[in-house]
């Protein structure tokens, strides 16, 4: 069935799905039954079933019945959802770029001042939020002083969400970390790379007050922070422009501070030249970067949890690329024979 086509089953199926969803919602929120957890054995069987059906699709394609796009969507959805409930863990290998970023953080002394810049919005939170959470956990455990800011309007709000989550954990509650002393959120400032440029002169000129409107000088953590020279490390989380590239070009290269970055996978390849030349200390690339960061810091969270879904969905995509190419070749051949016939 192709994109845009209507079917007479639509309404009954929709009603069934809505009813089922309501039942599950009420049942789970009232805790009539427990979480859906698939044992290792069952997980393996399910994976084999999916693999088998993919082979069946390949055979059908060879027979000249290629699968529609909705089939691809369905498989990807299954490949993403199933592993979330599987009790399997995936071994995560830490790549050199993540290792380098970690070493850079490790080399910092207790009480080091770290500038954490949040340049993303909820659209990229799935990839970057786990990195933010791991970073805060690591920073607070090491006693870093964290200065948060954002060049995206929603960035500082994302930071606050990660902070709230981390600070509600018992481990950090007992530390009784204080706002303004152990961490501060300077908020958003418009002006993109010009903000970085001006911060090179004086932070205060761009952030006269923090996120809550408290004057800069009345916050102990930043009272002695004039500009980048008083910062020991900068950690940037970015999903586009302005982001890591602008921080490297306008910040690192002009004012010479150390920076590590967490990026959405989309823009990670573009950052590697800066890694090779030493303009960036390390890179966390996408969900796998987040999982590796969790692995090396030993704060396992969502990044690690999602890795199995990530891998499984990649396998499905690879299989569909093969199926797609088979279909393409067959289609081309079909067209070539048609042309011959016409000739």
């Amino acid at each position: 069935m192709e994109h845009g086509a209507k079917s007479r089953y639509e309404i009954p199926v929709l009603i069934a799905v809505v009813t089922l969803t309501l039942v599950i919602y009420v049942a789970r929120h009232a805790e009539w039954f427990g979480y859906l957890q698939l044992s290792a054995g069952l997980s393996l069987i399910l994976m084999l079933l999916v693999a088998g059906s993919l082979i069946w699709i390949l055979i059908r394609t060879l027979d000249g019945n290629p699968a529609g796009r909705r089939m691809v969507f369905l498989y990807v959805a299954v490949a993403v959802v199933l592993p979330l409930s599987m009790q399997l863990t995936q071994k995560i290998e830490v790549t050199p770029e993540v290792n380098q970023l970690y070493r850079g953080l490790q080399a910092l002394p207790h009480g080091a001042k770290v500038l954490a810049t949040f340049d993303y919005d909820p659209g990229s939170a799935a990839e970057l939020q786990p990195m933010a959470e791991t970073f805060f956990k690591y920073a607070f455990d090491r006693g870093f002083k964290v200065i948060i800011m954002g060049l995206w309007p929603q960035g500082p709000a994302q930071a606050n969400m990660a902070l709230t989550k981390v600070l509600s954990e018992e481990r950090y509650k007992v530390k009784s970390l204080r706002y303004g002393v152990d961490y501060v959120n300077l908020g958003f400032q418009s002006g993109n790379e010009f903000v970085i440029q001006r911060m090179g002169g004086e932070f205060k000129s761009m952030f006269p007050t923090d996120y809550n409107g408290t004057p800069y000088d009345s916050l102990p953590i930043i009272r002695n922070v004039k500009n980048f020279s008083n910062i020991d490390y900068s950690f940037n989380l970015s999903a586009g422009y302005p982001g890591t590239k602008e921080w490297v070009l306008v910040g690192v290269d002009q004012f010479g501070f150390k920076m590590g970055a967490g990026n959405t996978a989309v823009q990670t390849t573009g950052m590697y030249p800066y890694l090779r030349s030493g303009q960036l200390i390390g890179i966390l690339g996408g969900m796998s970067g987040a999982a590796e960061f969790e692995e090396i810091t030993k704060y396992r969270g969502k990044g690690t949890k999602f890795m199995l879904s990530q891998s499984f969905s990649h396998v499905v995509v690879v299989v569909f690329i093969i199926i797609g190419n088979v279909a393409y070749i067959m289609f081309e051949r079909g067209r070539a024979t048609e042309k011959k016939k016409k000739a």
Binding site: H3, G4, R69, P109, D121, G123, S124, G201, N224, K226, N227, S229, N230, A239, G240, Y241, D253, G256, T264, V266, Q267, T269, G270
Partner: protein, 401 residues
Amino acid sequence: MLFRVAIAFACLFIIAGVAGQPAGDTALAVQQTIAPVTSLIATNHEYDNGTGIDLIWVPSIDDRLAPSRVTGYEVWRSVVGGSGSRIAELPAGANKFTDEQCSRESTYVYSVVAISVAGNAVSISTAPIQPAREWINLHRLNLLAIAFLVSAAVIYFIQSARSGKKLFVRKIAGLDAVDDAIGRATEMGRPILFIPGIQDMDDVQTIAAITILGRVSRVVADYDTKIKMPVSRSLVMTAARETIKASYMAAGRPDAYNDDMVSYVTDEQFGYVAAVDGIMVREKPATCFYLGAFFAESLILAETGNSVGAIQIAGTAMPAQIPFFVAACDFALIGEELFAASAYLSNEPKQLGSLKGQDVGKAVALVVIVVGTMAATIGSAWDVTFMNQLWSALKVVFQTN
């Protein structure tokens, strides 16, 4: 010279016994249980706005012994005629510090306190020093020289283009497709969709896109095709309206133009994409142009355009997005080809001149990469002195920090 003056001043201060000890803190009750740091010297931090002073010293002798008895250092500063205060705490082993929080109007005296469990030791103070501002950063002279070379080439080519000289720019594959694609939309009676990226008018890619829009809308005006242009920046909306209006005027059909051809949607990236996707599915454009700066939305747009059967022509200089356009569009301008296309189509001296000037820069880069890599490889593999010198020289020329 400065070094000697500083030493001389320091000596004078010891003799006079007024070695500006930071006043007003009990931490300074000197117990000479460890040796203080020696040879403390303050110099003006070079090439700044007059806010920095560099300090260097030889760590305490007790810090250099193993195990070190020194736990850390404190840097104290006092403004001449004022009281002193601690401005930094440094770990053991430290031998330098840059104070970047100075004012050009004040004169400062520094001392360093070595800290140990048994007691602290204060160094002699530095000579009074006032930071100075420098207007030109001489460390970056090489940058100035190379920027000057390329800028000169750009100006030269702009001038030659203005004086009527024909500048050669190689033909960009894919440009021929523009007219055909518009013709197709006209035949099918469907609109053309033009997406100028999601950046503002301060992005050079958006400017290139608007230049190409000038050409596209001219053909559109001639053929009387419909054009739809949802944009994500208000400034781009006004620039685009002006451009299309100018094309309709040039085509002699100002009455056929209307402002609704260009509409603002939202600045938010995915909000914009959702709206454009909706427009594509509903209006089924025959031809889609995606020219300008794109981010994660590139594939979503190109994929939707593909599903409605549009001919797609794309161009961006965002390295991460080019792959999707190459894969999902019929024609793609890769990276700088977008600017080249803009120069080629507009035939404007400024654009042509810039393109040619940049080619000079690229030629220099090509030569440096070939010569440099050969010099570095031969130099280090066979230890050829001349090659090593050449390599070092190139390194100096291209180093920026």
